[in-house]
């Protein structure tokens, strides 16, 4: 009898620990209304069921959970007798059925269809084909993105990736990329030096700063999938360059050049012409440029009026105006993909938090709260989430949050990460 009690106690403890680990990732659940999607077990042929469960079903489920618009319901209901009715009674509004086949050649075939359980008619049908080199999780991401597109009108971001900087050793940082769900970590640069501030063009080309030559230089790709080469300065010393940001059309780079008098100015480099033009007036620090979606305006941080504040200007330097009003330290603006919002960080009670300025309302909203610091906001391509760095678990790691700040998800457990950028292009 005592042994039984001990065993029960241990089991309970293990369950509690497991639950604690699970809830550590999702800090709080979003409560907005979601569509309940029933997911029948996939019909599989030519593939290992366990592999499908781990690399397909679980991936689709996680992708859909993190969209914030679906709630996934997985139950083993008898699928042949009146399936829609059974799922409807279980609470599902849509029923997703999936058939996965691997041909003898190794090619994958996926047939996915979704049924409206109330109206009992198909709302989504799509066949997918992939050769044997494509991993299952890639198909799962594509399916999740298409389901979101069917429901919301805009493709999801499960197939997107995040490029970021990771510290390899003291004074050595390199660029990495990771899938949006935290899988498939790839190292992008091997400069063996301080490599900072990645920016990704819409077609996936990189630009960044590296100190491999001693002084900082802007490096990047002139062509899609091309070799990494020096973009600025092409000859001589370029001064203290930093923060290259691709324009939305991928033809220009906004960047920052510091001079020997301590000023930093926003510059624009025309890559085809090879000419750089100064936009700000050499008055104090001007840095962290961020383009609006059509490439006509730039948001940036300037301390021209004392502490750092967010300003806006045209892409020729005219029409300068201050955006942020409250707070002593507002910086790191990131213009949203649709142009209606600007995310930034603000010092608040001794640490930094993410804020969103809604241009239409002319008001700022606080996103993150808590005792830890949150930095470097970057928008998801669908404008539903922000990726950022936070030291809430000690060393700086990458997190995403929805715009309410209630659903914060840790993207990687890698320590020493900074400057994430979220892209569909890679």
């Amino acid at each position: 009898m005592p042994r039984f009690l001990v065993r029960t106690f241990l089991c309970t403890l293990a369950t509690l620990i497991l639950q604690a680990q699970q809830t550590e990732v999702v800090l709080s659940a979003s409560s907005s209304a979601k569509l309940v999607l029933g997911m029948a077990p996939p019909k599989v042929s030519g593939l290992d069921e366990a592999q499908v469960a781990a690399e397909f079903t679980a991936v689709v489920r996680r992708d859909l959970d993190e969209t914030g618009v679906f709630a996934v319901l997985q139950e083993r209901l008898p699928s042949d007798t009146a399936p829609a009715k059974a799922w409807k009674e279980a609470g599902a509004q849509w029923l997703l059925t999936v058939r996965l086949t691997r041909a003898t050649t190794g090619d994958l075939q996926l047939e996915a269809s979704a049924l409206d359980t109330a109206a009992e008619k198909a709302v989504f049908t799509k066949p997918y084909k992939a050769d044997r080199l494509v991993p299952l999780r890639r198909l799962a991401h594509a399916l999740a993105d298409d389901l979101v597109a069917r429901l919301t009108g805009e493709r999801g971001v499960a197939s997107s990736r995040v490029v970021f900087v990771r510290e390899m050793a003291p004074g050595v940082k390199e660029l990495f990329q990771i899938d949006r769900d935290g899988a498939n970590l790839i190292q992008l640069t091997r400069h063996g030096s301080l490599t900072l501030a990645p920016s990704v063009a819409p077609d996936g080309r990189l630009a960044y700063v590296t100190y491999k030559g001693g002084a900082p230089e802007i490096w990047g790709q002139r062509r899609r999938d091309g070799a990494h080469e020096k973009l600025y300065p092409l000859s001589g010393a370029g001064g203290m360059v930093s923060t290259p940001i691709w324009s939305p059309d991928g033809r220009r780079l906004a960047f920052v050049q510091g001079d020997r008098r301590g000023n930093s100015d926003i510059m624009i480099l025309d890559l085809e012409a090879g000419r750089a033009r100064r936009l700000t007036d050499g008055n104090g620090i001007n840095t962290e440029p961020s383009w609006n979606p059509n490439g006509t305006q730039i948001a940036f941080t300037s301390d021209r009026e004392g502490g750092p504040q967010v300003f806006l200007m045209q892409d020729d330097g005219s029409n300068l105006r201050r955006l942020t009003g409250e707070g002593q330290y507002n910086a790191s603006p990131a213009w949203s993909p649709n142009g209606a919002m600007i995310a930034y960080v603000s010092r608040f009670e001794g640490k930094f938090d993410l804020f969103i300025y809604k241009l239409g309302e002319g008001k700022a909203y606080q996103i993150t709260t808590g005792v830890s610091t949150s930095e470097s906001p970057a928008w998801s391509p669908d404008e539903r989430r922000l990726v950022f760095t936070s030291n809430r678990f000690g060393s700086a790691q990458i997190f995403t949050t929805d715009l309410s700040g209630r659903q914060v998800v840790r993207m990687t457990e890698l320590p020493g990460c900074q400057s994430p950028k979220w892209t569909r292009g890679r």
Partner: protein
Amino acid sequence: MRYGTYLVPAAIVLTLGSLACKPPKTAEEIKQETQAAFNEGAQAFKDGKARTTNPYLSEKEAKENPHKMQGWYDGWDKAKADKDAADKAAAEKAAADEAARKAAAEKAAAEEAARKAAEAEKAAAFKKAAEALKTIHFDYDKSDIKEADRALLQGIADFMKAYPAAKVEIEGHCDERGTNEYNLALGNRRAAAALAYLKTLGVDEARFTTISFGKEKPVCTEAKEACWGQNRRGEFKLK
């Protein structure tokens, strides 16, 4: 009578013995004999009548070892003797040259060592002087030179004046608070502030380069003011 038994025969033996033995040659006699033999040989050479016998060989020995006789004169070859003499002279000259060369090399090595020692001493002096390149510190979000750091900067200016060839890179660093990019700009401003102050102390600003590492290269990684204060710094590195 008692002693006469021994003394008388002893006296007889000694007297007879001394008469019977030839007294040993004195050194003078040996010298004279040798000189005579040499003179004889030399005269024979002068007369063109070479000796046919080796005066240093007894007849018995000459008979037992005829080869010792033959080599005495028959092998004489003037050309070979001249050549040998020339070779010997040449060898001596070569040896002398070699010795001279060695001496010169040793001298050069000594000079090189002395030069190196002087250089090392100079480098050591330079290195010691370069210790004047002390790290300065800044207040949060500030780039003003602190009162306490002015003496350090004066030391750096003195060093730059003492070593006109020295070039220095000024690094600006920040603490972890604030954004990466704004801190890069702030580090640049800190480096520029140090540069401007050194310029007022009379050092040519072309001898400095400035660079900012923002908050990317902290010397201390804990989240507390003691640590942040160490990280908000300006470093001076010889280039």
